[in-house]
């Protein structure tokens, strides 16, 4: 095997396994046939086209099955991951609830929605208890402060209970809808686990945009990247499942505005952040319908 072939094979890994098994050799044959003699490095335009083509093929292969339930499942997976990431800095104070939140996330991730329902329900009750200051389910010393390497306010100490309650209520409601269906949602990739530390480090619990901390900005950047990605996926596939997931995320992400609206605590940066999320989610919703009319481009 030549160096060029090895490098092309490595680039072809951008495509999903099934596509590579069916057509990988065909693509490789053309790439090698059209290569200049003695060439060892793939031309940049071929390399970029393979990566873009691979991502496109992955997105298209992900758009299988009923769009609304798949989108709802994606949204619930994202919220369950956010729930877990929020609790990680408080592992020492609430180890049991962190563990149950992790179990709920993995069960939701792998499509075991009926098993996830009681676990996520228990976590939702505990989150409600902590935000309302009640000793439900077990005795937890309140407030819960972050552990050594983390800094910041107490758990749910920055803002009222509406945002975490909305998030947990959506998780439980989404799981109820998914559990009522005959078909189980498909198991999602274990790569989602890699996103947990990333989100945990991106200020998931106390989004203080006004202070402009690097972690808060990292979270805003992450949100923008994911919502733009949802719009791009909708454009490629003309499928609304990513828009549904974005909509599920938008509800708790903007709930904090309603929470603070009555006490006039909302700064213009918070309004700008919410407006950004609404506009990008709106774009993610609109793009698939527009793409249906231009599917041949």
């Amino acid at each position: 095997m030549t160096t060029l072939e090895r490098r092309y094979r490595w680039l072809l890994r951008a495509y999903p396994n099934g596509y590579r098994a069916d057509h990988g050799d065909e693509l490789l044959g053309i790439l090698l046939d059209s290569a200049e003699p003695g060439r060892a490095i793939p031309p940049a335009r071929e390399a970029v086209a393979l990566v873009v083509g691979g991502i496109r093929a992955r997105v298209i292969s992900a758009a299988q099955g009923p769009a609304w339930t798949d989108g709802l499942h994606r949204g619930v997976v994202a919220l369950a991951m956010l729930n877990l990431a929020v609790l990680i800095p408080y592992a020492g104070g609430i180890p049991l609830w962190l563990a149950l939140s992790a179990v709920a996330f993995v069960l939701v991730l792998r499509g075991h929605v009926r098993l996830a329902l009681p676990v996520a329900g228990a976590v939702a009750v505990k989150v409600t208890a902590i935000t309302m200051g009640h000793p439900w389910l077990d005795a937890t010393l309140l407030p819960v402060f972050p552990d050594g390497p983390w800094s910041g306010p107490a758990l749910y100490g920055h803002g009222g209970p509406i945002a975490p309650l909305t998030s947990n209520a959506l998780i439980v409601a989404g799981l109820l809808v998914l559990a009522s269906r005959r078909e189980r949602p498909r198991a999602r990739s274990w790569w989602w686990l890699a996103a947990v530390p990333l989100v945990a480090g991106a200020d998931p619990a106390w989004l203080d945009i006004v202070a402009g901390s690097p972690t808060a900005m990292a979270r805003v950047c992450l949100e923008v990247v994911l919502l733009v990605g949802a719009a791009c996926a909708g454009h490629l596939t003309a499928d609304p499942r990513w828009a549904v997931a974005a909509g599920v995320y938008l509800v708790p992400a903007t709930a904090v505005l309603w929470e603070n609206a009555s006490v006039e605590l909302v700064a213009r940066q918070d309004i700008a952040h919410a407006a950004l999320l609404v506009v990008l989610t709106g774009a993610a919703v609109a793009v698939p319908f527009r793409a249906r009319r231009r599917s041949l481009r």
Binding site: H23, L27, G53, G54, R297
Partner: protein, 112 residues
């Protein structure tokens, strides 16, 4: 692409045009597109197969047959009746659009 067009990009138009004379495999399509576009369009392999997958999903082309050459599978793509209709409609649209400009020149030459 302007409003009111069939929604074909220039690359897709030339891919369909390349198939008008009969089924071709991927490498032959790339070479024919270079010829038809007089060297303006050289499709990257990833781009070509993205377009072929999209066109096949919309039943504009189909896989006519498969061959194994040097141990590697090779698919031959054929344009469908729907694909023929689309590419011909696009050609007529572009011809009409071009006539707006070229017709003006010839009128100017006539009355000069």
């Amino acid at each position: 692409m302007s409003k009111g067009s069939s929604g074909l990009s220039e690359q897709t138009y030339f891919v369909l045009a390349a198939l008008l004379d009969g089924p071709l495999h991927g490498h032959a399509i790339i070479k024919k597109v270079v010829d038809l576009s007089q060297g303006r369009i050289t499709l990257a392999v990833g781009t070509l197969y993205g377009a072929l997958d999209r066109l096949a999903a919309n039943s504009v082309i189909v896989v006519e047959r498969e061959e194994v050459v040097n141990g590697r599978k090779r698919r031959y793509f054929r344009i469908t009746d729907e694909g023929n209709r689309i590419v011909e409609a696009e050609a007529r649209r572009m011809q009409q659009a071009a006539a707006v400009v070229t017709g003006r020149h010839s009128l100017g030459a006539t009355f000069a």
